[in-house]
């Protein structure tokens, strides 16, 4: 039973990580690519880490997994902010839809 839960969570996490990669390729510019990359950093890593929990034996390793998850939840916004601010300070402009002008 715990194996099944684990597999579902891991597959779901893997699917979201794949989605993040495809999103990074599909979206038009630097700023919009930050958003799908964010899904890989948050939900995908969370699902994979939680999916690994039932598979490991000792509680010490479990605590480490949870710690890594929490650490990533704190550090990824910080690094995302750092690179996006660097791009903004460099004067990179965001992509705009060309066909129809929308506010």
């Amino acid at each position: 039973m715990s194996d099944l839960i684990s597999w579902v969570l891991l597959l779901l996490g893997g699917f979201i990580a794949l989605t993040a990669a495809i999103g990074v390729l599909r979206f038009p510019d630097f700023y919009s690519r930050l958003h799908p990359a964010g899904t890989g950093d948050t939900l995908a890593q969370f699902l994979i880490m939680i999916g690994l929990l039932p598979l490991i034996g000792s509680w010490v390793d479990g605590v480490k997994l949870v710690m890594i998850t929490l650490l990533l939840f704190v550090t990824t916004p910080t690094s995302t902010h750092a690179i996006s601010q660097a791009a903004h300070l460099e004067g990179l402009l965001p992509w705009k839809r060309e066909e129809k002008s929308s506010g």
Binding site: I16, T19, A20, I22, G23, R26, F27, P28, D29, Y31, S32, L34, H35, P36, G38, T39, T42, L43, S58, V60, V63, K64, M67, F73, V74, T76, P77, T78, T80, H81, S84, Q85, H88, P94, W95, K96, R97, S102
Partner: protein, 159 residues
């Protein structure tokens, strides 16, 4: 007092990560490392209200499940837009007025915005954030001020 608390927290963290309480060597080295770290922190003057905002810890824990649910919802939205055949995104910059003042609350707000896919806090000034949003819905969700209200409640408790 705060230094002592930091020392004890570091020791607890060490035991949690090493998982060995039998080995006298590991425990001895652990206490030594925690003492050194605490001493450095005191010398660097990072032991204080900003580094350890202990008073707001209970509302913060209450905030986490809500934030997590928002992150899940935003994730689902971005994932849908990635798989949709036509481009369904309207990326834009906008300036978000910010009412929270406490530096820890502002950092938490900016981090929450960035953690939620669909919005990224780019530039943080005194009274506003420059935010990049992927869609109009994401922009409106932030403008509604729901997230900020929750952080403001936390700020009121802790200041």
């Amino acid at each position: 007092m705060r230094a002592l608390f930091l020392f004890l927290a570091l020791c607890a963290f060490w035991v949690l990560l090493s998982g060995e309480i039998q080995s006298a060597y590991l425990m001895g080295v652990g206490v030594f490392c925690c003492a050194i770290t605490t001493w450095f922190s005191v010398r660097l003057e990072i032991v204080g209200d900003e580094g350890q905002p202990t008073r707001g810890i209970r509302p913060f824990i209450a905030y986490l499940p809500w934030l997590f649910w928002q992150v899940v919802l935003a994730n689902v939205d971005v994932i849908k837009r990635v798989w949709r055949p036509e481009r369904s995104i309207e990326p834009r910059f906008f300036t978000l007025p910010v009412q929270v003042r406490h530096p820890v609350a502002k950092a938490l707000y900016a981090n929450s915005i960035t953690l939620t896919p669909g919005t990224v806090a780019i530039q943080c000034d005194d009274s506003s954030f420059l935010v990049h949003a992927l869609t109009d819905e994401a922009e409106q969700a932030l403008r509604s001020g729901d997230m900020e209200q929750r952080i403001q409640q936390m700020e009121e408790v802790s200041v």
